[in-house]
Amino acid sequence: MSAVLTPDAFTTVTLGPPQPAATQPPMTRMRFAQQNIQPPAHLFVTPDDFLTLGVVNALTGVTLQVQGRLWTPEGDITLPGFTVSPPADRVLRYTSFQLYYGYLTSVAVWPIGGTLPVGSQTFCSLQLVRPPLASFNLDWPIASGYVTANTFLATPYGAQAPSLTTQGQLYTVTGAAPPAGQDWSQTVPANARWKVRSVLMPFTTGGAAGNRFLGIRAFSGATLLWQSNNPNAIAAGSTVAGLAMMGYPVNSFVAGNYFIPIPTDIPTFAGGTIQSSTPNIQGGDQHGAPILLVEEVLSS
């Protein structure tokens, strides 16, 4: 019987931390000794198959790395992959990468570089498709979901996660300051959905007489959905702040602060508008730039 371990092998055994080999085989040329065995993946792909990445991104400077692991019929393990830098405009875009013959054993996408998305800022989908582009001929929906510095999309065990049913990313948004005598307005971006959690709205009245009232209203397009106003009047020559949050109207208030109850848990969908409502506003009155605390999920 021939020995499995030769005396030479015993002489290389050392104690302590593992030592790196003097020369390691490159990953792309690693070969299996056996042929004709059951592959660890059920999907054999060809050059007719494309690995397609769909991205909706809200953060400037994000870079995504897509990496597959392909076991070719020759026994090679290859690592097809690509890198993309999606624009930060919340528009759904696709990028495709042609594969070749082999078993696709794994695929992953994750953000790289110095700008890493958090929460619900970058939504990705990975799929295998075949032409034509006009109607993706879907082979395999691999995975979809948000990616962050420590949350990747990958298969095996890839899941389809919807973009809407998750904790949204919190933003503090400085809204627009309108011209004097006008209300401010902030529109929910396309392909996004907001929950407006609170609003701080500075307001300064001019010298014209009259009782102004601060409030918030929401629109879908030009259709008014809801409105809420504080019942306390604001006279001429005042510098005050409206504070909108969940709660209820109160008649007593801290000097200069006007509480406005708003439905903070009602989603405002893309294109919806949050606007101030100021009955009896005068030409010399000035709304400051409101500060909105919003929770955003991408609609993809």
């Binding site: 400085t174 401010w184 730039a289």
Partner: protein
Amino acid sequence: MATYRCLSCGSIYVDPQNGVHFPHVCPVIEDPARPGRFKRRPDERDENRELAGVFGKLGDGPPDEQLAKQKSHVRKVGKGREKLDDGDVLTGADAAAIAALQAQAGVADPDV
């Protein structure tokens, strides 16, 4: 991050904020013909983006080149916008500072 003035509605706004684009859209206005109802401004500016072109076939060029071909543009240009400052001079500004910004001359800015 820069401070802009919308030439359609006169609002002053900051974009982007912390690397995130919050597109400016002009407010809806009350419809004088229908009290209590609202309508969009006829010269409305809407900075939301939408795709202007897509790549022709799967795998057409390097990945970033594919993305570059998928250009986006603002939905409605309106009367355009002008830049007031290269930074954020709006957050925390009081009424007097906003009035000064409104009176400040701007620099024409190409549509983005």
